[in-house]
């Protein structure tokens, strides 16, 4: 048995039911099958697919990616073939796999989210991740993620239109993440996922132009981890809902750190590019850590440190 299937790694909190606590982060794992030679979908507790929108989108002009110290900045801008194509084609090959499937949905207007929820209802996906934190859309996207009011409207509207459990993907670029979470929880949210990328700009001092075709992009990778851990810590104060933590997860040690801070599961994003085989490594590392530290199940790690300072 692969470590990824070990029952001690099972996550079961509220609507978050995963065979193990390692997810792929949306946008860094395509539609789940591209990397399967190295990173098999079944190594994951769940796979969040590339963000989709109501209509097809061609995404932002290149360059779409630039390196920075400790991470990368992307401005992909949700290139995708739309929700219709998603339910008709993208999801089909994934159904046979023993993992959960997460559809990451994005809107340029409020109603987009609602209409996508309708389209997804009945499709064989396990979770809808409402992304209100994409910094790469000219309209909508992260703007929705900044106000409790728009969060309430989006979540409640989606909730009415589907029975699929709901995740909400939060932007780190807010004054108070707790009020955002509360607004979402009051309106039927099941699971909190955080963080998305930080808005960032790189300027080439020779051309004197922004490097990215879209000027601004979103920063992710190892450098964001301590900030993400802080936000998981804060989120844990706001809610008892399950939390999926991400932002700079590059090793099983990072996964443990997120869980000690209060995350029920973690997602790997950028580091897929550096080490596509990371999910299995994290599962193996978690097993060894649990053995060494006397944890019977992975859920005992969740919030272990946080509780010492908050309860």
């Amino acid at each position: 048995m692969l470590a990824t299937d070990n029952p001690r790694l099972r996550v079961s909190r509220g609507k978050l039911q995963l065979k193990n606590p390692v997810l792929s982060a949306s946008g860094t794992f395509g539609y789940g099958t591209e990397l399967q030679d190295i990173a098999h979908p079944e190594h994951y507790g769940g796979i969040a697919l590339k963000g989709i929108t109501l209509k097809p989108r061609s995404g932002n002009p290149p360059p779409r990616l630039v390196e920075a110290v400790g991470g990368v900045i992307n401005s992909v801008g949700l290139q995708n073939d739309g929700v219709q194509d998603f339910v008709e084609k993208k999801v089909i090959p994934l159904q046979s796999y023993n993992t959960t499937i997460i559809a990451n949905i994005n809107g340029v207007q409020l109603e987009d989210y609602w209409m996508m929820a309708e389209k997804l209802e009945g499709s064989p996906i396990d979770y809808i991740e409402i992304n209100v934190s994409c910094p790469n859309l000219k309209e909508g996207g992260v703007e929705f993620g900044k106000s409790p009011k728009s969060i309430a409207a989006i979540v409640s509207g989606v909730r009415k239109r589907t029975t699929i459990p709901l995740m909400l993907k939060l932007t780190p670029q807010v004054t108070d993440i707790k009020e955002i979470i509360k607004a979402a929880e009051d309106n039927g949210l099941d699971i909190v996922t955080l963080i998305n990328t930080y808005p960032a700009i790189v300027i080439d001092i020779n051309t004197k132009k922004p490097v990215l075709g879209n000027i601004r992009g979103g920063f992710s990778g190892p450098a964001v981890k301590p900030m993400a851990i802080n936000l998981v810590w804060e989120a844990r104060k706001a809610t008892k809902l399950p939390i999926v933590g991400m932002g700079g997860v590059c090793s099983w040690q990072d996964a443990v750190e997120f869980m000690l801070a209060g995350a029920d599961a973690v997602a790997v994003g950028t580091w897929h590019f550096i080490n596509p085989g990371i999910a299995l490594e994290i599962a193996e590392g978690l097993m060894a850590y649990m053995d060494k530290n006397g944890f019977e199940s992975v859920s005992e790690i969740t919030g272990y440190t946080w509780r010492q300072y908050n309860e």
């Binding site: 990397l35 030679d37 290149p62 630039v66 390196e67 051309t207």
Partner: protein
């Protein structure tokens, strides 16, 4: 596609900042075809996060050869490897191009390190007994690599240097034009080009005008190298309803038929904004 820790079996300093790295990897060697590349993990760097894409230069039984020009921290790191070192590779990546076995005459245009992806095609067409003509330009004589091997591999081989220190003086594209003026186009001609953008533009414009099928090997900033991140896109000639359309260089390329590329891509100013 695999991820592997390959042992360095040899590294040669070719001068002019070029290095030929050879690693042992039966899996990648076995699966590699012309047009493929590998993604090299750069270690011990505060500035380099992403892997670096490097074309498969050649394959010798279980060994993969990479021709690398040291231009920054990542390629410099590669150039400093020593036999016995371990290099973490992801590959082979890319589409690998094979629909051109029906070519009658293959014209290769290489500018500088642009030789890297073309060399493997030359060995391939040599095996197929298809005629190849190479135009290979570089700054000066020192930067013209593998002269003997190339003379061996090709049917005709024209070296071009900016300073005239070897072969013709001038630009590789001028030699290409002169060649066609002399020999005329022929049914079944295929052009492959790799080099700086302004060179590619000339080649593509020329091939378009002469109606010659033309493939170019392009570069872009790559995240995953494997089709999952959508970072590496190049604008496509055929627009979708929704506006621009892009293809993924890593999985649709990096060697790509030039007729599917939006020509604006070749403009110096092209950066999307």
């Amino acid at each position: 596609m695999i991820q592997t820790r390959a042992i360095v079996t040899n590294i040669r300093d070719l001068g002019a900042d070029y290095f030929l790295l050879e690693v042992e990897s039966p899996e990648i060697a076995g699966a590699s075809k012309p047009g493929h590349f590998v993604n090299v993990l750069i270690q011990d760097s505060a500035r380099v996060v992403l892997r670096r894409p490097i074309a498969v230069f050649d394959v010798k039984s279980n060994r993969v050869q990479l021709l690398v020009k040291s231009i920054g921290e990542g390629t410099r790191w590669i150039s400093l490897r020593e036999p016995g070192d371990v290099v973490n590779l992801l590959g082979p990546l890319g589409k690998g191009l094979f629909d051109k076995t029906d070519a009658k005459r293959v014209i290769m245009v290489a500018g500088g390190v642009g030789l890297a992806p073309l060399y493997y095609y030359l060995t391939y067409y040599k095996e197929l007994n298809i005629k190849t003509v190479l135009f290979y330009g570089a700054r000066n004589a020192k930067s013209i690599l593998f002269q003997n091997e190339l003379l061996e591999l090709t049917d005709e081989c024209v070296f071009v240097t900016e300073d005239g220190s070897l072969g013709e003086k001038g630009l590789v594209t001028d030699e290409l034009r002169r060649y066609y003026l002399e020999h005329g186009t022929a049914e079944g001609d295929v052009v492959f080009a790799c080099g700086p953008k302004f060179m590619l533009k000339q080649v593509v414009d020329f091939a378009d005008a002469e109606h010659i099928e033309c493939f170019v090997s392009l570069e872009s900033f790559m995240g995953c190298g494997a089709g999952v991140c959508l970072s590496c896109v190049i604008p496509a000639r055929h627009y979708s309803q929704d506006g621009d359309k892009y293809f993924k260089l890593c999985t649709d390329g990096p060697v790509i038929n030039s007729n599917i590329i939006d020509k604006r891509y070749f403009e110096e100013s092209y950066a999307g904004h």
